[in-house]
């Protein structure tokens, strides 16, 4: 079942990184809620798909995790951004800006510009 993609996974990963960057260490549920709030509908269902992404990022070394106490004093796993993660975030942000700029250029183009 690998149909749902990598596209979603890729943007999801970025969102996770940015969330952790802005808000500091969070547990899985916290990340999910914040992303839901910011992205609107994107992650309102199937929140569970976050966890494989978290694991993948952890394997890549851009986030780290450890056990901690949640709000209700229960055991929860907290994720934080590593230095490598910060670098990755910056690099990816740049890429996105570039891509967006190029696309924007294309949308500004009118027929007369080609002559």
């Amino acid at each position: 079942m690998g149909k749902k993609p990598d596209v979603l996974q890729g943007t999801l990963a970025l969102m996770v990184l940015k969330t952790l960057d802005v808000l500091g260490p969070l547990h899985g549920y916290g990340v999910a809620r914040r992303i839901e709030q910011i992205s609107g509908d994107l992650l309102s269902v199937n929140q569970g798909t976050l966890y494989p992404v978290l694991l993948k990022l952890e394997h890549e070394g851009v986030i780290a995790s450890e056990w901690g106490a949640s709000e209700n004093n229960r055991r929860a796993r907290y994720y934080r951004l590593t230095r490598a993660g910060k670098k990755r975030l910056q690099a990816e942000a740049r890429e996105w800006e570039q891509t967006a700029a190029i696309i924007a250029q294309f949308f500004k183009v009118k027929a007369e510009d080609f002559s």
Partner: protein, 871 residues
């Protein structure tokens, strides 16, 4: 980079089987708990809150799977799971697995082993082997012979096509060492000969240029086995002196053996140029080998040498002759290669039969698996999952069979040299031919993959519903499967027919050989050979004296009935040949008739119990001074004077005297039990000078010939204690040895034929048995409706016959062109006997029927009640 980090993480997890499932479970629990709390704050009931929380989370199973997939190597995990499953299947039907693996192993292993053995034996491991050619003289009667020394020297100096030309003269010399004198094989070689064949000294060195000029001090190079045997080690042999034929040779080096050797395996090498035995154009004795210049074709070299030879011929018109160039491998193996090819083909057929068997078995299994696959598909397995499963199973089968085959092949190549077929010189080492291994491996792997995938492929073609309902009999694909099975069985029987036919043909041919009358009685006959050294027997008189003394002593031994001698041992003759004139024939000597010439003592033909057809054998009345006589064989008589009595006619041969023919002898297979006798003339040694220095004596004994071996040896030593004797064997052994090649080939073919029969019968049994099991219900119904045992039998036999018939017929039809090919290859005038074909057909039909018998009995015993109720 990231990929590798993840990959290594996964690998580590996979190997250590770490399972962070607990962690995931906890996280999931926590997540859902938190969500539930929020929902409760938002106003839902406890139950509803939790439910909504779980819905929002998504399918835990899927998340779990994805998480797990991220953790380890799903590929490897699936592979192992598939493998375990496949192994479980095998445990369930061990018979199938065993038969499949054995079939694969036999097919692959036997093929590779035999190919490698033959390939190794026919390989020429010399540097430039592909460019090496043998050069022979040719004479008008179409004979190709060895070459004379001055011709060789002229070719060497005048040619432009060869990098190197070298020559070799094989002879026997008497070596007197610390023990009794022995005859050893000596090889006089021209300069560069040893290095041409890639021989590098194990100790000492090759001949130096100074040692290879006429008149140089006598030196020699030893074979390493001989050096070790005589002097303890190769190094200690260097510098020692060797007494050969009364002369002392100094050892300058030790060489490894040349494999395969051009002529007899030499124990000592001598430089040819230092003392060439004969130096005139008429004496031919050299085996000449050349290495073509790069880019020079054989035809061009042939042209080049022909021109040179015609120049020589102008100067020496008495000895003119043509030249023939053939590649070295053709010269050495030409006679053996066709037989090898036939064996190759036979083994190839065995491989094919094995593959067909395998295919059938896999197909049969595939229909059983249809239902299982249908269920699995209904439970959610994607089609690729099933294909992968089939692939893994087939690959496992191929791997198991392949490794077994490889083991078989390797084991076969370690066969001890004693078991080596006698007509092939055992190669230095046997290389497992990688190419053939790969080829046969590819073939069987392809077969197993192709047919093993059949059930999975069917999935793509039929919906799961159909598969679920399938009952191997009623599936729409069942008809195709039946046809496929039938087709494969027919093909298998066709191949088997071909192979069995070929084997029978070879075996009958060989048995025929054994039965042919060699023209003499071979039992109770002892043979021994000796060669009188020139130094002690310089004149003809001494040679004669020796022989007559020996003959007397041998004849006086109790139990010896008669004694005779000839120039070569029986069945191992290499007769000289010459042209001749005959009474009533053309006057000049150029009429292209050559005949083999045999010098025999007066007691020889009598001892050999050759068949005298007319006239008389030689006797004491034929001496140097009495009228010159000769004996001819039946073939020559028929050729020269058909329908007339040759006795009393005259023939002029060898010298200028007309000889009277006093008797006609039936053809004798002097050169080997399988060689046609050809034209033969016998001349008495008592009427010639010389001819008694190098001869082979035969004794007719009353009891087992080897009983007299010691006595014979003693007789020789009592006259001359320093004379080595050789070839002390019963003549029957010589006869058997002369057809060793055919014997081996026939044995191998027979074995292959049997193997083919076995495989075919297993195949037929399998297919019929399987179709019977499919039709159990049908048989049950028939029996319930009153069918009797023999009716069921008839049913099954006829259905087998419908397939076997066309198969066997196809095989028989193909036998004809195949036989033509064999005849062209082997050059034998053996026509494929109708009897052989009939026997082949009978054999195959019997096998097919027998193989059907067991399943038929099972069918006839089908319990109607059980059969009707079974699904």
């Amino acid at each position: 980079m990231r990929f590798f980090r993840r990959f290594f993480n996964r690998l580590a997890n996979f190997v250590s089987k770490r399972n962070d499932n607990r962690r995931l479970q906890e996280e999931i629990e926590e997540h859902i708990a938190l969500q539930t709390e929020e929902n409760r704050y938002a106003g839902m009931t406890a139950v509803e809150a939790r439910r909504q929380a779980r819905l929002k989370f998504g399918a835990i199973g899927t998340v779990s799977e994805q998480y797990h997939a991220e953790q380890t190597l799903p590929f490897a995990e699936n592979l192992f799971r598939d493998l375990r499953y496949a192994l479980r299947q095998w445990k369930k039907s061990p018979g199938f697995a065993l038969v499949a693996i054995v079939t694969l192993a036999l097919g692959m292993g036997a093929t590779t082993a035999i190919f490698s053995l033959i390939h190794s034996a026919l390989r020429l491991p010399f540097p430039h082997a592909e460019h090496m050619v043998a050069i022979k003289n040719t004479y008008p009667a179409g004979m190709a012979t060895v070459v004379s020394y001055p011709d060789f020297e002229d070719w060497k100096s005048r040619n432009t096509s060869f990098e190197h030309l070298a020559a070799d003269y094989a002879s026997r010399m008497t070596y007197v060492g610390p023990h009794e004198p022995v005859r050893i094989n000596a090889s006089s070689v021209s300069s560069g000969f040893l290095s041409l064949f890639g021989l590098n000294p194990v100790a000492g060195r090759d001949f130096s240029p100074a040692e290879q000029v006429k008149g140089a001090a006598p030196v020699c190079v030893l074979d390493v086995a001989f050096a070790t045997q005589e002097f303890g080690s190769p190094a200690s042999a260097v510098g020692r002196a060797l007494a050969l034929n009364g002369k002392s040779y100094s050892v300058v080096g030790v060489m490894p053996p040349m494999t395969p050797s051009i002529q007899r395996r030499a124990q000592v090498w001598l430089p040819l140029e230092a003392a060439p035995p004969w130096e005139n154009h008429g004496n031919n004795y050299l085996f000449v080998v050349g290495v073509l210049r790069p880019g020079v074709l054989l035809t061009r070299a042939q042209g080049d040498l022909t021109v040179i030879q015609s120049q020589i011929d102008r100067q020496f018109p008495d000895n003119k002759h043509g030249i023939q160039l053939i590649s070295l491998s053709e010269a050495l193996f030409g006679s053996v290669r066709p037989v090898m090819l036939v064996l190759f083909a036979a083994v190839g057929f065995v491989l094919l039969i094995a593959c067909v068997n395998l295919a059938n078995m896999l197909l049969a299994r595939s229909t059983e698996r249809m239902r299982e696959f249908g269920i699995r598909q209904a439970l959610g397995a994607g089609p690729w999952r099933l294909v992968r499963q089939s692939l893994v199973e087939s690959a496992l089968l191929a791997a198991a069979g392949g490794s077994a085959g490889l083991l078989l092949a390797v084991a076969a190549t370690r066969i001890p040299i004693q078991a080596w077929p006698k007509f092939l010189e055992a190669p230095g080492e046997v290389h497992l031919s990688g190419a053939i291994l790969l080829f046969s491996a590819a073939l069987v792997v392809l077969t197993s993959l192709l047919f093993g995938l059949a059930p999975a492929i069917q999935i793509f073609r039929h919906s799961a519903k159909v598969a679920l309902q399938s009952d191997a009999r009623t599936m729409s694909g069942a008809r195709e499967q039946r046809l496929a099975r039938a087709g494969l069985m027919a093909a298998e029987l066709a191949f088997a027919t071909l192979l069995v036919g070929g084997a029978l043909h070879m075996v009958t041919y060989f048995v025929g050989l054994l039965r042919t009358d060699p023209g003499v009685r071979t039992d109770h006959l002892l043979s021994l050979s000796y060669s009188l050294p020139e130094l002690r027997y310089p004149k003809d008189a001494e040679e004669r004296l020796f022989y007559s003394q020996l003959e007397q002593k041998l004849a006086a031994l109790p139990g010896v009935e008669s004694v005779g001698a000839s120039d070569d041992p029986p069945f191992a003759s290499r007769p000289s040949s010459g042209d001749f004139l005959y009474e009533g024939g053309p006057v000049s000597r150029d009429h292209n008739l050559f005949t083999n010439i045999f010098f025999v003592t007066s007691g020889y033909l009598d001892t050999m119990q050759a068949h005298l057809l007319r006239g008389r054998f030689f006797s004491a009345q034929d001496t140097l001074t009495s009228p010159k006589v000769a004996l001819i064989n039946q073939s020559l008589a028929a050729r020269l004077w058909p329908n007339q009595n040759p006795v009393g006619k005259h023939i002029k041969i060898i010298d200028n005297d007309w000889r009277q023919i006093v008797g006609v002898v039936a053809d004798v297979c002097a050169e080997g039990a399988a060689q046609p006798a050809g034209l033969q003339v016998y001349l008495s040694t008592s009427q010639f000078n010389g001819g008694l220095s190098d001869i082979s004596v035969v004794l007719r004994t009353r009891t087992d010939p080897m009983d007299y071996a010691d006595a014979a040896r003693q007789a020789v030593y009592s006259i001359d204690p320093a004379l080595p004797i050789s070839n002390l064997t019963p003549v029957q052994a010589l006869a058997a040895q002369s057809i060793a090649a055919q014997s081996t080939a026939a044995t191998l073919m027979g074995a292959l034929g049997l193997l083919a029969l076995l495989l075919a019968s297993v195949g037929v049994y399998g297919v019929v048995s399987y179709s019977v099991s499919l039709r159990q219900q049908e048989f049950g119904i028939r029996i319930a409706l009153g069918a009797r045992r023999n009716q069921i039998f008839a049913l099954l036999f006829s259905s087998t016959a419908w397939i076997a018939g066309p198969g066997i017929t196809l095989g028989l039809l193909l036998a004809w062109p195949l036989n033509q090919w064999m005849r062209a290859l082997l050059g034998k005038s053996q026509q494929l006997h109708p009897a052989t074909l009939i026997w082949t057909t009978l054999l195959l039909v019997t096998v097919a029927l027998l193989a059907t018998l067991l399943p038929a009995r099972r069918a006839a015993q089908a319990d109607p009640m059980r059969a009707i109720r079974s699904e």
